[in-house]
């Protein structure tokens, strides 16, 4: 005579655990930041001779002291007008206004930009390496060591 056992699961929420945890999410965000920074640096280098061009940089939003800059809402006379919202990223592009200008109003420091570019490259490569490491670990675990 077979005896049936009923397996009772207390909390179904446990089954929805995350496969890709916080670190991988952080690494993704870091890659986005680094890619945007590379683009900004490229733009600065491209505009090294443009008159009245002010160099730009990418910073994390929580480092910005001027909180009003982020929360500026456009006054809309009709609710159906498009709002001026900024993206939901944690970083944004800012303009450096407080550095010295050359005679044509351009404040791009080419040496600083080259140095930033090299730094950013290394940062990007290291993020990709860490990401690969995490994925490989996950893969090893999933395969059960085989």
């Amino acid at each position: 005579m077979y005896k049936t056992t009923k397996i009772r699961i207390r909390n179904w929420g446990d089954f929805r655990m995350k496969l890709f945890g916080q670190t991988i999410h952080t690494l993704e965000r870091a890659l986005n930041y680094s890619a945007l920074r590379n683009e900004t640096i490229s733009n600065n280098i491209a505009n090294v001779d443009t008159p009245n061009y002010k160099s730009k940089d990418v910073v994390f939003k929580d480092m910005l002291h001027d909180a009003m800059k982020n929360n500026l809402q456009a006054k809309r006379t009709n609710e159906r007008h498009l709002p001026f919202t900024s993206a939901n990223d944690a970083f944004q592009v800012i303009t450096r206004k407080n550095t010295a200008y050359s005679h044509n109003g351009n404040n791009v420091d080419i040496d600083k930009e080259m140095s930033n570019s090299a730094q950013n490259q290394i940062y990007y490569r290291s993020m990709v390496d860490r990401l690969n490491g995490k994925f490989n670990t996950l893969q090893t675990v999933i395969r059960g060591g085989r």
């Binding site: 683009e39 490229s42 001779d49 443009t50 001026f84 592009v93 570019s117």
Partner: protein, 151 residues
């Protein structure tokens, strides 16, 4: 805006710097051209020094609207040579009555090209060109590294 957006930014700068270089070469080549333009009344004008006006891309209405609507960082679009204008500095008069282009007072007007200034511009254009090539290589390196995710 594709994955090669960074390349396009630097490529635009390479084009602009090359144009600057070409204009500088033209200026140097025509540094002694006394007969560049012939007016309707028969008088001749010497060559006027040319300059390139550079402007950063992404400052038109379409980009501003897109930035406001989506908050995307559309401000990075490289550089563009908008105009080639002529330098309005006065010509350099040289007293030479025997010259065929001398006017009544015996002065020949030479172009307002200063070779030293052109050399400085040339070096500046070359340096900017090289810097942009380095930046392009940096973008390429990053893309190649991104391809290695998961290898």
């Amino acid at each position: 805006m594709s994955i090669f957006h960074g390349f396009n930014i630097n490529a635009s700068a390479l084009t602009a710097q090359r144009l600057r270089m070409d204009v500088t070469s033209a200026n140097i080549a025509n540094a002694h051209t006394t007969r560049a333009t012939i007016n309707e009344d028969g008088t001749v004008e010497p060559y006027r020094r040319r300059m390139v006006v550079l402007q950063s891309n992404g400052n038109d209405f379409k980009n501003y609207l897109q930035r406001a609507r989506f908050g995307t960082q559309q401000g990075n679009n490289g550089v563009r040579a908008t105009r080639i204008i002529e330098d309005q500095e006065p010509f350099k008069p040289v007293y030479d009555p025997a010259h065929p282009d001398a006017d009544e007072t015996g002065y020949v007007y030479y172009p307002n090209v200063d070779p030293l200034k052109e050399m400085v511009d040339m070096v500046s254009a070359t340096r900017s060109y090289e810097a942009n090539v380095t930046a392009l290589n940096a973008s390429k390196d990053m893309l190649l590294k991104a391809l290695e995710i998961g290898r």
